[in-house]
Amino acid sequence: MRAVGLILAGGNSYKMRELTRKRAVAAMPMAGSYRAIDFTLSNMSNSHIQKVAVLTQYNARSLNEHLNSSKWWDFGRKHGGLFVFTPTITADNGNWYRGTADAIYQNLEFLRKCHEPYVVIASGDAVYKMDYNKILEYHIAKKADITVGYKELDSHTEASRFGTIKMNESMRIEEFEEKPMVANSSVVSTGIYVIRRRLLIDLIEHCAEEDRHDFVTDILIRYKNLKKIFGYKIKDYWSNISAVDAYYQTNMDFLKPEVRNYFFKELPAIYSKVSDLPPAKYNPGAVVKNSIIASGSIINGTVENSILFKKTFVGNNCVIKNSIILNDVYLGDNTYVENCIVESRDTIRANTRHVGENGVKVVVEKNERYAL
């Protein structure tokens, strides 16, 4: 592949509520056995992009832990590989990443030293499969300066979380609004961009000179009449998870056979860090219906329409409905959980009840856990 990958995984989102206390959005557990960033990383690997930089900033410990070895995504190569860049203090910079463009600017040396003619920029908080070769071919065919992957959402209401775009008949982007209060288009940017490496360096340098820091407002929107910016339609499944409801819904989508087949059975596969857990164990008393169960779990109670991440322990007579239980949660006997997201490593005391009344409830409980 003639491109280098840049994954912008620095972000936090207040829309994730308590869930980002512990981690960056890109490190959110997804679909039972994965982390959000696995999807983009696997796409890069499967597209034969051999050099990938992940830019992180917010609460990156969990993410760094996940990326501690690049071998799971097959990036453990002599040439290229996986790079993780956090902000550093240098002789001429003492700032955090002040925005996406600034994050790239602070690592411009990396881009300058690359030899690949193109750059694929993506975010770490979306669930999708994509061959970036296709968007690159499109980019070249269109003689575009920048190509933006877009998705048509089902409704306008959710679109205000994103940048909305409008294109002319030749797919050139004419309007671009970042997180509009009222969205007048349901076509949103997915944060997937293709750009020539030299051009990216020039634009980023210009930005920095003018003390501008954001890739969307200061480059895409500002240059949209000057540069040829085209849209590339993403036809298959694509979902951004950086709001609690979207996160919940994206996980629940995996209960649908077509989504599960698309991600779990069809090639190319999504890779993740291997965690050496034994198979899930169903003891007498376990009743499991329409649920996804990850390895290392031990189930003694009832689980319905839910997703149990790795190493969940479900006690006797528990009932879990329409919920997401993140990694390594212990649910004591007789607990009732409905319509909740239970934060990872929680210990839920026996005989307790957690119900999300108006929408999804995020349960964060840190109780003492007694060794099994």
């Binding site: 599960r260 596969a269 291997v274 050496d276 198979p279 169903y282 329409n290 991440f309």
Partner: protein, 424 residues
């Protein structure tokens, strides 16, 4: 000179013919166990958990699966700059070239490999037992006793002792006598086939007995060392240890994993068992399925009923299928409406719709009564069973079978159906 205090040599070349069709294409150590594991994972994980980072794996019989499974040892953290895991097949030499003729002969042929690490001690393991053991504790025992050879041994019921190599030890553990499958056992301490040798003792014995055809540890090396007056000690082990050499014991050991708190617990944080499983998605249990008292691995899709089973990765269990008391290995597809009792179905097999497997009377298998017994149905890897057939007990099936292979749609108890040829 760089050195390793102790290296391990893992004997993984055996066929394990008593596992019947399960080992037709793979060596016994590569046979699946406990859902996502293979038998060799247990000694390999024991090695790394005991701090042994240099392991030679001796292969001979059908090594492909074993080789791909072990690779460069990443899952066990055995990819090292110095040491790590090495696969050691027999090789051509300028003088005599031969296969590994016996356990000790295999080790003898790899003297050069061991020499590279300049070890003080060599641990000899076999790749066909299920257990967790800290070899470092055994080494400490070896050192304390200033032993030349330490043999791990476990108490077995006296009436079964004549099936094993028996060590007769004094109070302090010093071995006074060694009996190979004795009719009149003098003790019930059975050798587990795990030895620690002081390097020089092993080297001398191997060289001295190099002309012995089929040179074996139990039959030749240990008696030779004993005869020369070496200090042999028995290291008594009382934990879980299971020989899975027969289909019956293999099935039983798997079934023990599904007890509420199994004696052999895979869920302990400490002493993890590692395996090469790649990344696999979680499993999906449908709205109509019933899963009870089972362990189920990643990537499975269950639409039917599963009771008392050990299910490997990527298995699909069809609608209204009922599977009981069975071992289902990786990527098996079980058709809708099947009823399966007490079966072992090896990797990648496909069971057609509406099959009934494991019914009828228990009649001894006509071909190999000692192998296919225990009332089990054993189906080899990459087999195919057509829709709607009935299969009796103590049966074995391998290969792509068609409707006409089953007279009246039935394979009676005690029959064997092995189709030659490759699956297209």
């Amino acid at each position: 000179m760089r050195k390793k205090e102790m290296i391990a040599m893992l004997l993984a070349g055996g066929q394990g013919s008593r596992l019947g069709v399960l080992t037709a294409k793979v060596a016994k150590p590569a046979v699946a166990f406990g859902g996502k594991y293979r038998i060799i994972d247990f000694p390999l994980s024991n090695c790394i958990n005991s701090g042994i980072d240099t392991v030679g794996v001796l292969t001979q019989y059908q090594p492909l699966r074993l080789n791909t499974h072990i690779g460069i040892g990443i899952p066990w953290d055995l990819d090292r700059n110095f040491g790590g895991v090495s696969i050691l097949p027999p090789y051509e030499k300028s003088g005599s070239s031969e296969w590994y003729t016996g356990t000790a002969n295999a080790i003898y042929q790899n003297l050069d490999y061991m020499e590279t690490f300049n070890p003080d001690y060599v641990l000899i393991l076999s790749g066909d037992h299920i257990y967790k053991m800290d070899y470092e504790v055994m080494l400490d025992y070896h050192k304390e006793n200033h032993a030349d050879v330490t043999i791990a041994a476990m108490p077995v019921p006296m009436e079964e002792a004549s099936r094993f190599g028996i060590v007769v030890a004094e109070e302090d553990g010093k071995i006074s006598e060694f009996q190979e499958k004795p009719e009149q056992p003098k003790s019930n301490l059975a050798s587990m086939g795990i030895y620690i040798f002081s390097w020089q003792v092993l080297k001398d014995a191997l060289i001295a007995l190099r002309e012995v055809h089929g040179c074996d540890f139990g039959k030749h090396i240990i008696p030779y060392c004993h005869g020369r007056g070496s200090r042999l000690f028995a290291y008594e082990y009382n934990g879980y240890w299971k020989d899975v050499g027969t289909l019956g014991s293999y099935w039983e050991a798997n079934m023990e994993l599904i007890d509420i708190i199994p004696e052999f617990n895979l869920y302990e944080e400490f002493w993890k068992i590692y395996t090469n499983s790649g990344t696999l998605p979680p499993q999906y249990i449908s709205a109509n399925s019933v899963i009870e008292k089972s362990i189920i691995s990643n990537g499975c899709e269950a639409y039917g009923e599963v009771h008392n089973c050990v299910v490997g990765a990527g298995v699909t269990i069809g609608q209204d299928a009922v599977v009981r008391d069975s071992i289902i290995m990786q990527d098996v597809k079980i058709g809708d409406g099947c009823v399966i009792d007490k079966a072992i179905i090896a990797e990648n097999s496909e069971i057609g719709k509406g099959c009934t497997i494991g019914i009828g009377k228990e009649i001894p298998n006509k071909l190999k009564p000692s192998v296919y017994s225990f009332g089990l149905v054993t189906i080899g890897e990459n087999s195919k069973i057509p829709d709607g057939v009935q299969i009796g007990k103590n049966t074995a099936i391998s290969g792509v079978t068609e409707k006409y292979d089953y007279p009246n749609g039935i394979l009676e108890s005690g029959e064997t159906l092995i189709k030659a040829g490759e699956r297209l």
